[in-house]
């Protein structure tokens, strides 16, 4: 779950990372009032769940309340990367003598957290890494021990800091790691970490991403007024909400995680992360999927049945492709049962409906026996996913 900057800063404040004096506002009038009280130059920053707001005009600096109100009005009217600006953060403006970078994430190849520091903050770290790879310092860290003091200093040194500043930055690195661990983050980033002209180190921006699967153990977020939500680039459709409900019928297996498309070929796909491959193969052969989905982890017959029903009832559907990788825990026979039960409930004759089944693995003999009995065309493991995808697309295009 991505946090807004103001939410990340709530956590920073609680955990002792210095942040600028800042207030949240939802209207230009509120912004004006805040600046009146602050009596300082301010930065007004759009609160959205996407990076690159600076370039899109989502950050402005104002000297007085009137100017702040005007600029805020402009920011509130923006739509940045599809996000409307509903809140802005009003902060005392910082005057930097240096802008630095500090971030923590997982290195999946090393299977360990890595801390990254750089003397070039304020720009996207990927850009820095591309243009000035020598300026990016990466340090793998032991999850249990966390950042040791000497490592903190090493990170700070690579930000170009010396003496007192180095100690301060090392302290911030240690605290940032504590947050990373305590809140089950996938990403914790301060960009930029600002060294002000009067020698203070302050997190000007804050970016935390919490692991979705671990959110259940963070009841403290509610007390911090950080609502738990699902990251989504858009509002889910009715179809997707229904699918999610189906997946929640039972904790066993996955038969949900659906994305709606406007094509005519219904998809029931999955198996060891093959969904994307299968989806791509369908598209490659010119097919028009009506949906993306994932089935795996041996879902119950009922879940497969309900998901199949949902897909088959979707307007514009002309056929169904059930394609999976070679399965090792999801059972072919249970999937076949679910699909046939769904058709039966909808009064669809499996032998007359355009359906293609390609699956193999656990209980495949039983699965094939069922499919044969109901006269459903199927492919076994001697056919590749690609061949199955092609056949499914042809099945639809051959329809009269």
């Amino acid at each position: 779950m991505k946090l807004y900057e103001y939410e990340s800063k709530i956590i920073f404040k609680k955990e002792g990372i210095p942040i600028p004096e800042s207030y949240l506002a939802s209207t230009p009038d509120e912004v004006e009032k805040i600046v009146e009280n602050l009596k300082k130059e301010v930065a007004i920053k759009a609160q959205i769940l996407a990076t690159g707001r600076g370039k899109a005009g989502g950050i402005s600096f104002a000297k007085n309340p009137k100017e702040a109100k005007q600029l805020a009005r402009k920011i509130f009217s923006l739509k940045i990367k599809g996000f409307e600006v509903r809140k802005v953060l009003v902060e005392e403006r910082l005057f930097p003598s240096a802008e630095l970078f500090l971030g923590i994430t997982y290195d999946l190849s090393q299977k360990t957290p890595v801390v990254i520091s750089s003397s070039l903050g304020g720009i996207d770290i990927n850009e820095i890494a591309k243009k000035y790879p020598e300026k990016v310092f990466t340090l793998p860290v032991n999850m249990v021990w966390g950042i040791q003091n000497y490592q903190g200093k090493l990170l700070a040194k690579n930000m170009g800091l010396k003496s007192k500043d180095m100690f301060k930055a090392a302290g911030i690195a240690v605290k940032l790691f504590n947050i990373f661990k305590k809140y089950d983050c996938d990403l914790a980033e301060i960009n930029p970490l600002i060294l002000t002209q009067d020698g203070k180190l302050i997190a000007a921006d804050a970016h935390l991403e919490l692991e979705q699967e671990a959110l259940y153990r963070h009841k403290e977020l509610e007390q911090l007024e950080i609502p738990i939500r699902k990251d989504s680039p858009r509002i889910p459709t009715k179809f997707e909400i229904e699918a999610e409900k189906i997946d929640k019928i039972d904790h066993r297996g996955v038969a949900g995680r659906v994305v709606e498309f406007d094509g005519n070929l219904g998809l029931l796909i999955g198996g060891g992360g093959a969904s994307l491959t299968i989806f791509d193969a369908i598209r490659y052969h010119g097919g028009k999927p009506a949906n993306y989905c994932e089935i795996g982890g041996n879902p119950t017959v009922k879940k497969v049945k309900e998901l199949t029903k949902l897909i088959l009832k979707k307007p514009g559907i002309k056929g169904l492709a059930v394609i999976t990788n070679v399965l090792n825990n999801t059972r072919v026979d249970l999937v076949a049962r679910g699909v046939i039960l769904a058709m039966n409930e909808l009064d669809i004759k499996p032998s007359e409906y355009p359906i293609l089944f390609r699956s193999a693995g656990a209980y495949e003999e039983d699965g094939y026996r069922i499919l044969k009995k109901y006269k459903i065309k199927y492919m076994d493991r001697s056919y590749s996913i690609d061949q199955a995808a092609k056949a499914a697309v042809e099945m639809i295009s051959n329809l009269k």
Binding site: N344, D347, D366
Partner: protein, 79 residues
């Protein structure tokens, strides 16, 4: 309307055998997919039956067959 339950699996219980041990309820306990339920057909006369809408969930784990003291359960594949 076509039959919508029990298309693939038929679970049957021989009630007279089962009653001999006064409904031990072991099958209800071991079945991972909730095939069995106890019903009070007449008062104080509990009887085990099959939840038909769950029948097709049977995964052939055979736990019920192994644990039933009376060998009162039979399971048939309908394909």
């Amino acid at each position: 309307m076509v039959k919508i339950m029990g298309m693939f699996v038929k679970v049957e219980i021989n009630n007279s055998k089962c009653k001999k041990v006064k409904n031990c309820k072991i099958c209800e306990e071991v079945c991972p997919v909730e095939i069995f339920k106890f019903e009070n057909l007449e008062e104080n006369n509990e009887i085990i039956s099959v939840i038909e809408e769950n029948e097709d969930e049977c995964i052939f784990c055979n736990l019920c067959l192994e644990k039933c003291l009376q060998k009162a359960i039979t399971i048939k594949k309908l394909y």
